[in-house]
Amino acid sequence: MTLRDQLEKIRQEREQNIKDVGDLKKLDALRVELLGKKGPITQALRSMRDLPAEERPQFGQFANRVRDELQTTIERRRDELKQAMLNKELQEEKIDVTLPGKPVAQGQPHVIQQIIDQIEDLFIGMGYQVLTGPEVEEDKYNFEMMNLPKDHPARDMQDTFYITKEILMRTQTSPMQARTLEKHDFSQGPLKMISPGVVYRRDTDDPTHSHQFHQVEGIVIDKHITMADLKGTLQLVAHELFGDRFDIRLRPSYFPFTEPSVEADITCFNCGGKGCAVCKYTGWIEVLGAGMVHPNVLKMAGVDPEVFGGFAFGLGPDRFAMLKYGVDDIRNFYLNDVRFLTQFSKKG
């Protein structure tokens, strides 16, 4: 057997040995044994001096190649073993991904607040200011300047919590119409304002009445504001707050501070307008009052009704929330049962 044959045999045998090694330690021992100073390859190279000079370069090349190949095989095997070990470790680290995530704290805005914020954002986008007024109001602003003199029968429509004869819990956000009209400088441009807030009525709390609830007043006064603008604005509110399939219809109504006055109905939430028990088979649900600001209101606030005019409306966020989410008892909004409050995720 020539030296070359011996080497070839070693290569074949050992390559198989390397592939059979099962752990890194043994692999390392094998590497030392094979490729170390006392290893067969080193020895073969050493025996090269016995060969004729012309064969040596060729044999040397061959021997080096065998060494490199074995080296490569060992390294490949080492990578394989490392990978296998890692895989085994990872397998042991396996977790149950269906266990619950760790809870974090997250609160919700109140559902009525969500509606108010939505209304505010909508009107801000149309160039309205947002103004808030006092909840403890003067009779003058709450009633008299809204064209409701003392003894006006329409005062009966709003049972009032009085503090004194002249001071009361506001029954509506409408006094903010008078308060802003009084102050507004029309030389600086039109008045476009909404005023959200809490209002109070002398009512017994029951599923449909609350002595405390919310309103969002709106008023636009300029030289060319029309009832058609009011209709378009209310239509937009319906579309933005409830969706495009909701429409608005106007009906005649009466408020002392607007003339003409209208009641706005919205497509029934329950039946989508087909008619059902909820909407008394009309397809419509009453949601808000509005109208063209009464000339007396303008006059009393020092605005010339011959030159300026416009519309006003009062939205009821409580009612909106009841309709939108099917809440059947208004008291839920003020009892703050956590199981109620957390039902209304922000985007729902």
Partner: protein
């Protein structure tokens, strides 16, 4: 008010169904509450004739009637009504029929005898007890003799009519009558309603010889009277009774019914009284005397005062004017001479009287909303003529007038351009003219200007805006275009304060608290708890309930009510915040409180509910809530140091677990645990709360953000563990470290607190990491050691700390 569809059809050519008519009314005039048919829910109720009857063998009051119901054989029906009698036509509920109250009638045995249905009284077929004529209140009803046997009964009783219940707004009092509704529908459908006007057949003797009127015209601007003699009191004819009961009015007799009928038809309340019961021949309309007594027709004795108007004879009050008649002059079966009053009383006085006596009658409701001042004569004429026709009365000649004035039509001008300018329409002049004419208004057009003459039947119209409404509603709101306001651009944005309030809400939500909205009106006791400052309370003068009498001066009490509501329903984990107003008064003399925005929170149980954690160990404590408040305040970026200073000044708070919160030396609120006895009173579990004066926070100067270069040089840290007395606070130690820290001390962090085992009594161990950094150079170890030693030494000397 319930308006009869059939009655309207007497005046108008109505081609639409009752439901469509109602919708038209709702869209063009006033709201409609319901459209009903009295026969709704009833079936198989037919006319039967009792041919004969015999006693029930096993009963002393039941009769067995042989009834012809239009079938081949007579039906045997058992009946217990006291007035059952052969020969009458009656209401028969056949087997399989449905009567009032959704009751099904079956063939059944009554004490052994089979009854093939039931003979009905009016209340059994859905009539309200308050509309059934007295004579039929305790027995079965007899139908007219010409009723066809076997036919449904509904048409004989007006039950096939449709009733449109209109909900009339305060301005549209004219819609509280059939004539008024007919006129408005005439305008809507462009028809002229065929309204009839009475002619009066009078006898020759003069009414003015019979009665004198002495009327205070300030109370009754119009007061008129007719006298009808020799009336014969009896039940009204069925057609009249039907009109009344369908409108919810009980038929009484042919005189009283006429006044009620005229009210329904014209909207003019009338009062008829027995003139023979009156002393003397003068009728007065005057203020009541203080303490004057009057028993009204409902048999209530009422004590009157000068704010009430009475109708009186020379001795006594005989009616509470415009509200209800007096019992002492009531029309009864023996009445022969009737005085019919047709008047207009001051609406405000009537409204107040009705309120004061809690007596809201159909008459008072009409007077409150006003009546047609031009229709007073016609109403009394029509009533007198009907009493002549129905009660055979003699109408004395002439209307006696106590007060009156010339009722003029209202003349209002409006221009076409104004109409289109306000409504946003492009109406042509003849379109607008046509609408005014349809409404029965006179109209002339001069250039662009309409001069509109409004008759007294529409007393709500006075100004141009009123005419605009008329045009809009008759033209139809559905026909209005929908546009958005145009004109100069305006800036729409939240103010800085509004943005900060919104941010505050978002922050507390992000920190885990749910927004609550509680009642601002609470009890006197709760209103004055958890007070951040002194304030007098604001109370309602006439509260509705004891729970809501006083305006809150804190938000926490409302939140604790909310916690209690949750705890009572086994919801233990509650984390709430509220942003809203509190109401302060500097002194009790101040009438109107000032309003301040506050924000408050309450946490009970666990903030983060984790079922894998021990609920008790995971429950909220002072430090968790403090962390929330600190995080919030840090986000507000208020200039100045935030301090938490232990306090026992809030009686509702735990004296050892409460801190005042101050910024830059200004108190802005407090935080802590609710006092256990207060928690017990609220029936809540251990709860931690805070309340902040949001107004104050909003006004404080905020830090301006400025870029800080990040140092390239490494930071060096040193840890120190201190053994100090328990009453030495973290704040004291931090202050001392910062005071002596030197120029390069960048931050100090507490990383361990220990009290308990292995420590001497009364001692605690606190450990801090001090971080040093020079922004401009690498710090040397010696520099740091020198600075650190200085801190350690000062802690030993100033706070008696032992370095561990």
């Amino acid at each position: 008010m319930k308006i009869s569809y059939n009655w309207l059809k007497e005046y108008l050519d109505i081609q639409v169904s009752p439901k469509d008519l109602a919708e038209k009314i709702e869209r063009s005039s006033v709201e409609v509450d319901s459209v009903t048919q009295p026969s709704d829910g009833l079936k198989k109720l037919v006319v039967g004739k009792i041919e004969s009857l015999r006693d029930h063998p096993d009963s002393d009051h039941l009769k067995i009637c042989s009834v012809d119901v239009g079938e081949e054989e007579l039906s045997e029906i058992v009946c217990g009504a006291p007035n059952v009698e052969a020969g009458h036509k009656v209401i028969v509920a056949l087997p399989g029929s449905r009567i009032g109250g959704n009751v099904k009638i079956k063939r059944s045995k009554m004490r052994g005898v089979t009854s093939n249905g039931m003979i009905c009284a009016l209340d059994e077929i859905g009539f309200g007890k308050d509309v059934i004529p007295k004579e039929w209140s305790d027995g079965i009803y007899f139908l007219p003799d010409d009723a066809k046997i076997g036919e449904p009964v509904f048409s004989y009783l007006g039950m096939d009519d449709h009733l449109i219940d209109v909900d009339v707004t305060p301005n549209r009092g004219d819609m509280l009558s059939v004539y008024g509704v007919a006129r408005d529908l005439g305008a809507i459908y462009a028809q002229k309603p065929k309204l009839n006007h009475p002619s009066v057949e009078e006898v020759s003797s003069l009414a003015a010889d019979k009665v004198k009127l002495d009327v205070n015209a300030d109370l009754a601007p119009i007061y008129k009277m007719r006298i009808v003699e020799n009336v014969k009191i009896q039940p009204s004819p069925l057609w009249l009774q039907i009109k009344l009961w369908n409108a919810g009015v009980r038929p009484i007799n042919n005189v009283v019914d006429v006044t009620n009928y005229i009210l329904l038809k014209y909207g003019q309340p009338l009062h008829a009284f027995d003139f023979n019961k009156v002393s003397g021949n003068t009728i007065y309309a005057r203020q009541a005397y203080e303490g004057e007594k009057l028993t009204t027709l409902d048999e209530e004795e009422r004590e009157l005062d000068a704010k009430d108007i009475v109708i009186a004879d020379s001795d006594k009050a005989i009616a509470l004017a415009g509200v209800m008649g007096g019992l002492n002059s009531e029309i009864d079966d023996r009445t022969t001479t009737v005085a019919i009053e047709s008047a207009v009383f001051m609406p405000t006085m009537i409204r107040k009287t009705a309120q004061r006596h809690n007596l809201h009658t159909s008459a008072s409701q009409h007077f409150e909303r006003g009546v047609d001042r031009g229709g007073v004569d016609e109403a009394v004429d029509a009533a007198a003529q009907m009493m002549h026709e129905l009660a055979d009365g003699d109408i004395l000649k002439g209307i006696v007038t106590g007060s009156s004035y010339d009722v003029k039509d209202e003349v209002v001008q409006v221009t076409l351009s104004r109409v289109n300018h306000v409504l946003g329409t492009h109406l042509k002049s003849d379109q607008v003219s046509a609408i005014f004419k349809q409404l029965g208004f006179g109209v002339t057009l001069d250039g662009d200007t309409y001069t509109v003459t409004v008759p007294s039947t529409r007393w709500d119209i006075h100004i141009a805006a009123d005419l605009l409404e008329e045009v809009a509603r008759i033209y139809g709101y559905d026909n209005l275009p929908a546009t958005l306001p145009t004109g100069p651009t305006t800036l729409g944005k939240l103010t800085e304060k509004q943005i900060l309030i919104r941010d505050s809400r978002r922050l507390f939500e992000a920190l885990g608290l749910n927004q609550a909205i509680s009642y601002a009106l609470t009890t006197e006791e709760k209103a004055g708890q958890f007070m951040m400052r002194k304030s007098a309370e604001t109370q309602l003068s006439w509260p509705m309930t004891n729970d809501h009498t006083t305006l809150r001066m804190n938000l926490i009490s409302g939140l604790l009510d909310d916690v209690a509501y949750n705890n009572a329903r086994y919801v233990k984990d509650v984390a709430l915040y509220e942003q809203g107003r509190v109401f302060y008064k500097d002194s009790a003399d101040e009438v109107r409180p000032s309003e301040h925005e506050h924000i408050a929170g309450a946490i009970s149980g666990q903030l983060v509910v984790d079922p894998l954690q021990n609920a008790k160990r995971n429950a909220v404590n002072f430090y968790q809530l403090k962390g929330i408040v600190e995080q919030y305040l840090q986000n507000l970026a208020i200039e100045g140091d935030i301090e938490f200073v232990a306090t026992d000044r809030y009686p509702e708070m735990h004296p050892g677990r409460t801190a005042d919160i101050s910024i830059h030396g200004h108190n802005v609120g407090f935080i802590g645990q609710v006092h256990p006895s207060v928690a017990e009173a609220y029936k809540i579990n251990e709860t931690y709360v805070f309340e902040l004066n949001l107004d104050a926070l909003l006004e404080m100067p905020k830090k301006m953000n400025q870029y800080q270069p990040i140092s390239k040089y490494p930071a060096i840290t040193r840890d120190v563990a201190l053994l100090v007395d328990k009453n030495v606070t973290n704040a004291q130690i931090l202050a001392q470290i910062n005071k002596k820290g030197g120029a390069y001390l960048k931050s100090v962090h507490l990383f361990d607190v220990y009290q308990g085992k292995n420590l001497p009594n009364g001692k605690q161990s606190l450990a801090y990491t001090l971080t040093y950094q020079n922004p401009n150079a690498t710090l040397t170890d010696e520099e740091v050691t020198k600075a650190f030693d200085k801190v350690q030494n000062s802690l030993v000397s100033e706070l008696g700390a032992e370095i561990r």
